[in-house]
């Protein structure tokens, strides 16, 4: 078994410490748009990164394969590809496979081989196991067992493109301006303790969930042990990884809506809870009693996305920035307002949400953004 720790977190520090730029754009009518404006926006926040990681998640990217799991997989060498493809052949039916097109780009050196596969679970899927659970297990297997292979993303009609470089370099390398999607998230990193590894860039993904993250979780040890108790192998020693798994546990396995999940990640203070109505008090107290170990403590801003939904959230005392902009069906989330205004000068609305207050953009939902007032 390969040791991912030595790749993602070569000094074996507890976790990866990083500051970052993050950006998200969503057309809530579901209309797809090209990446050029998103790339321009994230490039505007160049100084928030240090060139050690950039990436994008695009939703609605593969409308011709809506029911296939789109695997984006990076290989460090040809043997990894051979081994992985044998593994994929064993467990999946293939619809299509191809190398992801790439182009010469500034500051990109030693890129891995990156392929995409459109797959459906094969005969090895046990009776009664859901497709999603099966896919999660196979992804974990590839990531932990096959040396030199790493799954960038594994969701339907979405894909993650990421690597070592500034985000604009990564966009150039993969030619992202040519893709279209209704929801884009983007990330530029400033890690302090990680070396150049393509898999370590954001967004982090499991199924069609992605997370981009600016911050450092002081609660990482607590979060991690809680998730490990529930079967998530936190092999990469990054705090972003635990956010992705926590989202998977709460939303997919426990079936909780994002509004509730936001209150688990960034709960109101006990003193605030005391001022709520009796029913709300009961709910909030229960959330804090049952999920104390998933409180994300320490400075963070995250943008979580999955099919038809984009959520922005900061820690409850808002130690990392998040700005929201709206124009028509378009919803923007960004570390800096300047990046939004650069591509959308005539915003109808722009605001900074309170700490712990989720900003939720929904596909096919009412036109306005849901942003529950701070508690």
């Amino acid at each position: 078994m390969k040791n991912l720790e030595t790749i993602q977190n070569p000094y074996n520090d507890d976790k990866v410490m990083a500051a970052c730029s993050i950006f998200g754009a969503m057309d809530r009518s579901g209309k797809r748009f090209s990446g050029d404006r998103v790339i321009k926006a994230i490039r505007n926040m160049h100084v928030r990164g240090n060139g050690l990681g950039g990436g994008f998640a695009i939703y609605g990217i593969y409308p011709n394969y809506p029911e296939h799991y789109a695997f984006h997989i990076m290989y460090e060498h040809a043997a990894a590809k051979e081994e992985t493809e044998a593994f994929l052949s064993e467990h999946f039916r293939w619809e299509r496979a191809e190398e992801i097109p790439h182009y010469p780009a500034r500051r990109i050196s030693n890129p891995p081989i990156v392929w995409r596969y459109f797959l459906t679970p094969g005969n090895t899927k046990p009776e009664g196991k859901s497709d999603d659970d099966f896919v999660v297990e196979r992804v974990m297997e590839i990531n932990t067992r096959i040396d030199g292979a790493f799954v960038f993303s594994s969701g339907k009609n979405m894909g993650v493109f990421k690597g070592v470089g500034y985000p604009e370099n990564i966009a150039e390398y993969f030619g992202l301006a040519d893709y279209e999607g209704y929801l884009w998230t983007a990330h530029g990193r400033f890690p302090t303790n990680t070396h150049a590894w393509w898999g370590g860039a954001h967004p982090f993904n499991i199924l069609d969930w992605t997370v981009v993250h600016n911050g450092e979780l002081s609660s990482y040890g607590t979060n991690r042990r809680y998730l490990e108790e529930r079967g998530y192998a936190c092999t990469m020693h990054t705090d972003t990884e635990v956010i992705a798994y926590a989202v998977d546990l709460l939303m997919r396995k426990h079936g909780l809506p994002i509004e509730i999940v936001a209150k688990i990640f960034a709960p109101p203070f006990w003193d605030q809870i005391k001022r709520l109505s009796k029913a709300e008090q009961e709910l909030m107290r229960a959330l804090r009693q049952i999920y104390p170990s998933l409180l994300l403590n320490g400075p963070f801003t995250i943008i979580i996305a999955h099919q038809g939904e984009m959520i922005g959230l900061t820690d409850r005392i808002r130690l990392r920035p998040l700005t929201v902009g709206e124009k028509g069906n378009l919803l923007y989330l960004s570390s800096e307002e300047s990046a939004i205004r650069l591509i959308e000068p005539d915003l109808e609305k722009a605001w900074i949400p309170s700490g712990g207050e989720p900003v939720i953009g929904r596909f096919e939902a009412k036109a306005s953004v849901e942003s529950t007032a701070g508690m």
């Binding site: 507890d14 976790k15 410490m17 990083a18 500051a19 302090t192 911050g215 450092e216 002081s218 609660s219 990482y220 040890g221 607590t222 042990r225 809680y226 490990e228 108790e229 529930r230 426990h254 909780l256 809506p257 509730i260 203070f269 006990w270 003193d271 029913a279 009961e282 709910l283 229960a286 959330l287 804090r288 009693q289 049952i290 999920y291 104390p292 170990s293 409180l295 403590n297 320490g298 400075p299 409850r316 005392i317 130690l319």
Partner: protein
């Protein structure tokens, strides 16, 4: 028989200061000081001094100094003075050596080999003077997940009874009879005012203390003293006491002379009879018996109260902890090697049981491996001396801690270990009606409240330094601990890395 045990202390009386007022004579309960009318002077019998410093603190002219007796034996690392004196004492009495308080031997204190983390640059520390900082802790079994009605968005999950603590520090069990009613009232008042719990111990609950019932843990121990329906109803939590860190595996014995009419009424035994607690609970000879008692108590109290089970930390307490959780305990308590007592055989106190730090780390890890950590709160006792010990215990995985010795020290105790004599000069571990007046419950409660307040401020400061504003984000967060001077086995059991790594 002439004792061959030399005096432990010498009393130095500064004659220039002594005014022969006899305060020391009245304060000392061990007959160390006496007034000699022939000389018209206060004199001392040094062999009686236990080093409790009551006289020195209360001497109005500061005339008294207590020193260790410098009488020295020939050096010998094997036959140390304590060993010689223990043998002599047994040769003179033919009995077991009884002692009080916790193990005073030099087994490693792991708290002192663990250091905490703080934020620098990559994340900001938080100033607790300017930002909210939460220590609130809920004791009780937690369900694995929450369920919410998809239509009404209302909470569907019914959570087992929970008890709120404003600081994850509770007062550990000290029974009425072992300590005085005034001590219990001091604890009860402080716990009520601060928002935490005190514990009756196994001696029942005096009628006068029923008003503190919202902050009371009532104990059900092997003697079943004072256990009746009102008593169970008065408890916020009911604790089944299996064992105690100071004397794992053995029972208790409150001598008849301490069983006053009041103690007798509270314990529901005849006045003046010895109160004997059997070594095991005679209806618990196995884990399934424990489950029966847990559920009997739940039935008796309508499933409205968390049930705690307390054991001494012993070699396989991690596995036992798992069994206790599976037997239905909502809170489990591990009491470590350094846990205290009013009376225990010295040989047991000093040689049986394991340090609480290791027991805690192992139990927390075991419960997580088995996926049942949420089903019970984990509380540790026995050796918590200061706020940093509290925070380190929580980082190792405890939900809360119990303190008892620290609470008694706050009331004046100097750990002179004379508890079994019943002569406590500080009026703590005694039922002598004159001596117990030395503790004023109002002042006692204030001292205990102040201690909790001081600790909570310190814990908040340490949390803020870590960049954390809620205690639950440190719970089980061993990454915020590093070891110093620990070997690999110790680090592995504690689940922490060495400092610098």
């Amino acid at each position: 028989m002439k004792t061959f045990v030399p005096p432990k202390f010498i009393v130095e009386r500064n004659r220039d200061r002594c005014i022969n007022c006899q305060v020391c004579v009245r304060q000392c309960t061990f007959g160390t000081h006496y007034y000699d009318p022939d000389y018209d002077e206060v004199l001392s019998r040094e062999g009686n001094c236990v080093g409790c410093h009551r006289c020195a603190i209360f001497c109005p002219t500061g005339a008294i100094t207590i020193r260790r007796n410098p009488l020295e034996y020939r050096e010998n690392d094997n036959w140390r003075p304590e060993i010689l004196e223990d043998i002599k004492r047994q040769a003179e009495t033919g009995g077991m050596l009884l002692t009080g308080m916790g193990c005073d031997k030099d087994q490693k204190i792991y708290w002192d080999h663990l250091v905490l983390n703080a934020s620098q640059v990559t994340n900001p520390s938080i100033d607790p003077l300017r930002e909210p900082m939460e220590l609130t802790t809920y004791i009780g079994a937690k369900p694995e997940r929450v369920e919410i009605d998809p239509n009404t968005k209302a909470l569907k999950t019914r959570i087992a009874p929970q008890v709120e603590l404003s600081i994850p520090v509770m007062f550990s069990a000290m029974s009425y009879g072992a300590v005085s009613l005034h001590v219990q009232e001091s604890l009860a008042r402080a716990a009520s005012e601060f928002g935490t719990l005190w514990n009756t111990g196994e001696g029942g609950l005096h009628r006068r203390l029923y008003k503190y019932k919202d902050h009371t843990i009532v104990q059900v121990a092997s003697g079943r003293f004072g256990v009746h329906p009102d008593y169970l109803d008065a408890g916020r939590i009911i604790e089944i006491k299996i064992g105690q860190g100071a004397k794992p595996g053995i029972g208790g014995h409150l001598p008849g002379e301490k069983v006053s009419a009041d103690v007798a009424r509270t314990r529901m035994i005849p006045t003046g009879t010895d109160a004997l607690s059997p070594a095991p609970q005679h209806d618990i000879y196995s884990i399934e018996d424990l489950a029966q008692l847990v559920y009997a108590l739940k039935e008796a109290t309508n499933y409205e109260k968390p049930i705690s089970v307390k054991i001494a930390a012993v070699h396989n307490s991690a596995a036992i902890a798992s069994g206790m959780v599976r037997a239905g305990a909502d809170m489990i308590v591990l009491d470590g090697l350094r846990g205290s007592t009013g009376a225990a055989p010295k040989v047991i106190r000093d040689n049986v049981g394991i340090p609480i730090e290791l027991a805690l780390a192992a139990a927390d890890a075991r419960l997580r491996q088995e996926g049942i950590r949420n089903r019970a709160s984990l509380v540790v006792a026995g050796g918590i001396r200061k706020s940093s010990d509290v925070l380190k215990a929580i980082a190792l995985g405890a939900d809360a801690v119990y303190i008892a010795t620290a609470a008694l020290v706050a009331l004046g105790c100097t750990i002179c270990q004379q508890c079994p004599t019943g002569k406590c000069a500080w009026g703590i571990c005694t039922s002598d009606p004159v001596l117990t007046k030395r503790i004023n419950p109002e002042i006692g409660a204030e001292r205990l409240y102040n201690l909790l307040r001081g600790w909570s401020l310190e814990i908040k400061d340490m949390l803020g330094g870590m960049g954390i504003n809620s205690i639950e984000s440190v719970r089980g967060n061993r990454l915020h601990l590093r070891g110093i001077g620990l070997n690999e086995t110790e680090l592995e059991i504690l689940g922490v890395r060495h400092a610098g790594a």
